[in-house]
């Protein structure tokens, strides 16, 4: 028995074009997908358009770029025609984004606590003391053992893993329905990565959010998400359930999987990707 649920996010034929001196460069060329309350991974190399897809959904595309789509909707609301004001209300409140490096994406001259409170006060009518209490509770939810101390610290005073937890806390404090995580752990130590992912995973599951997880790491994404979209040169080349990654059909996906050195396999030289021009068509 299937219950048809309205998708949280609908993207149809999304295109992002950057005008340059030598002509238009299409970073995203006709990407379509629908997202429910699930974990969707978008994988691709640098320049594949995965981050620009996330930014277009978030409404953070640079001003000189052109966005076009047959449909770009959050629930019933059309993101393409929505006035900037409404879009601002949506951003942070209903749709949130976690960026790669907490060193650069947190405000360096504001304490972590003030930044979380600022998010709350932007979107909700809430008293200072209540906002502080919510922020502290959120810091606790991302498993920061001493929330009071971290609340009053500046971003440079905490480690990368701690900074990324603070970032997750800031993004989730308003209870968004959709979370876009753009390489959320790539700047972190390998062993810290799993802790942060674990926290993210639990929060997303508990709150029933939709998650778009953007990464270059195919293995990581497939172990974390329900469904994986593989992008190459601005297009989706393959979409498959994460569990069936081994059955990937497209030579690009297979090549990506194959070129990673693993412990115990003795392959010298490593197989490299033989990029076919027709993949980019």
């Amino acid at each position: 028995m299937t219950v048809s649920v309205k998708p949280l996010l609908t993207v149809e034929d999304l295109r992002v074009t950057f005008p340059t001196r030598t002509g238009d460069v299409q970073a995203v060329r006709g990407v379509s997908f629908a997202l429910g309350r699930e974990r969707l991974g978008i994988v691709g190399e640098s320049g594949s358009g995965k981050s620009q897809t996330g930014r277009a959904i978030m409404g953070l595309t640079p001003g000189h770029a052109r966005i076009s789509a047959r449909k770009l909707a959050f629930g019933d609301r059309d993101l393409l025609t929505m006035p900037a004001r409404e879009r601002r209300d949506l951003r942070g409140k209903k749709v949130a984004m976690i960026l790669q490096d907490p060193k650069y994406s947190l405000n360096p001259v504001m304490t972590i606590g003030r930044q979380i409170v600022e998010t709350l006060k932007t979107h909700e009518k809430i008293s200072n003391s209540a906002a502080k209490a919510r922020a502290l509770a959120m810091l606790e939810a991302v498993q920061i053992s001493d929330p009071k101390r971290v609340f009053s610290l500046y971003p440079h005073e905490v480690s990368g893993g701690m900074g990324q937890r603070a970032m997750i806390a800031m993004m989730l404090v308003c209870g968004p329905e959709l979370l876009i995580a753009d390489e959320p752990t790539s700047a972190l130590d390998v062993t810290v990565q799993l802790e942060v992912l674990d926290i993210l995973d639990k929060l997303v599951a508990d709150r029933g959010m939709g998650l778009i997880f953007i990464s270059h790491d195919l293995r990581l994404v497939s172990s974390f998400c329900d469904r994986v979209i593989v992008m190459y040169a601005g297009r989706i080349v393959e979409e498959l359930p994460a569990a069936n990654l081994a059955d990937a059909q497209h030579p690009y996906t297979r090549g990506l999987l194959n070129c990673l050195p693993t412990i115990g396999s003795d392959r010298h030289p490593l197989p490299v990707l033989d990029r076919k021009p027709e993949w980019a068509l």
């Binding site: 190399e45 640098s46 490593l270």
Partner: protein, 249 residues
């Protein structure tokens, strides 16, 4: 086996903080040696102290039997030991062409057959002479790292220090660079010291590896120990778990 690189009780302190705390290594000629550790464990400090970019306060360093002090190194040292850095976007001079980048070490060390050496170096890293007069911003990340490797190899060193040479690159480009490094090592019988946080890369490239934590060497194990899980350090186990991807617990 003679050791190409021998480090005894090396200590590096920044103010009161011991970044390296009595580290000992013996790396044989032609060996490929890996170092893993979390950030702040001292692995990059070790490479910088060996390469002469940072001075060390105590201990001894000898390269092919010749001792070197913590501070001044002669030209002979730099002809023997070269380094490739993590970020090819940061390690190439933005206002120099590839030609200038490759020329500089040759001029410093008084080479005369400059023309042939530059062409050969570019061919060797698979770029060809078409790249010779480009600036680094006209190159992709993988191409930049090839230039960085060409610059290191152009002096025909015996020891190559590699500080996370592929962690800034895409997986498919990583495979190409690792293959290139292996080829260079085979052709020239180079000694590698490679730092990485990716156990897959280390086990692919290195015969032995050391695990560092808080400026100390926690353990040194052969590659086989990774496959058979024969190691004692907790951090090695954590790294191994991390290399297998996320698991819902």
């Amino acid at each position: 086996m003679t050791s190409a690189l021998s480090i005894r009780d090396m200590v590096v302190t920044y103010d009161e903080f011991a970044a390296l705390d009595h580290v000992n290594f013996d790396i044989g000629t032609g060996e490929s040696f890996g170092i893993v550790g979390e950030s702040g464990s001292g692995k990059s400090t070790l490479l910088r102290a060996v390469s002469g970019l940072a001075s060390f306060d105590q201990g001894t360093l000898s390269v092919n039997g010749r001792p070197y002090s913590g501070r001044k190194r002669d030209k002979e040292f730099y002809r023997t030991v070269q380094m490739v850095f993590q970020d090819p976007y940061g390690s190439l001079h933005p206002r120099q062409t590839v030609d200038r980048l490759l020329l500089e070490p040759l001029v410093i060390h008084g080479f005369t057959d400059i023309e042939t050496r530059i062409n050969r170096a570019l061919d060797e890293v698979g770029l060809g002479s078409g790249f010779r007069f480009r600036y680094s911003h006209q190159l992709s990340g993988g191409q930049r790292q090839r230039i960085a490797i060409a610059r290191a190899l152009i002096l025909e060193p015996k020891i190559l220090l590699l500080d996370e040479p592929t962690s800034a690159l895409d997986a498919s480009i990583q495979a190409e660079i690792l293959n290139l490094l292996e080829q260079a090592r085979r052709d020239r019988n180079l000694t590698f010291v490679m730092v990485s946080h990716d156990l897959g890369v280390i086990s692919h490239m290195c015969e032995r590896l050391a695990v560092m934590k808080n400026g100390k060497v926690v353990e040194t194990v052969p590659r086989k120990a990774l496959e058979n899980r024969e190691f004692s350090a907790d951090y090695t186990r954590q790294l191994l778990v991390a290399s297998e991807g996320f698991r819902r617990g």
